[in-house]
Symmetry: C2
Subunit: 112 residues, 2 copies
């Protein structure tokens, strides 16, 4: 798949994954594709890094996965967000908004 996440930003993957499983269950490969598509190619998450991230999120009970097998398709693991995941996602959004505002002020970034 793609190249890199952001401007060498580490720490955005979690909010991205949580946001993408917020409304419906999705599997790993799909999440990776969506991050790239919806960001217009700006955010590219290495698919191989995505799976360990999903296991961590599941271990922390922010998402839950379940295997789905269909004839003529490779098995897929679909993840849904949990109640705790929603709380963490909400707090992530607040923190990111504050962070972006602060970075804008201190580093002189203009946002459209």
């Amino acid at each position: 798949m793609g190249d890199k996440l952001g401007p060498d930003v580490k720490g955005s993957a979690e909010i991205l994954v949580l946001a993408l499983v917020e409304d419906r269950a999705r599997h790993g490969y799909e999440i990776g594709k969506l991050i790239e598509e919806r960001s217009g190619g700006v955010l590219k998450f290495h698919i191989a890094s995505l799976y360990p991230m999903l296991y961590r999120l599941e271990k922390r009970a922010l998402i839950t996965g379940r295997w789905v097998e269909k004839a003529g398709q490779r098995r897929k693991r679909y993840y849904r967000i949990t109640a705790e995941g929603r709380r963490v996602l909400a707090s992530h959004r607040t923190r990111w908004e504050e962070f972006i505002l602060a970075l804008t002020r201190v580093a002189g970034i203009r946002h459209a």
Copy 2:
């Protein structure tokens, strides 16, 4: 000094430092203080992490440092931005703007 940088964001320190030495020479401790002050306490960079970052930036010739000794004061190392540093800072700003926009779209962050 403070607690943490952002929402567990790694990769923002470089643009912060470069932006703060953009207009005038500053020393490490001052930079750390300014990041915290100007961000209203949102961005707190561990001062101990700042010095290695400054050495890296100097090694990459994005900033240049010089020792200043005054009677009755501990020696300070003042850093200025280089021409190459300005180029990198400008590109960082562009990349961050794109990144923030993309994150806003994909992760559903609203920015004021």
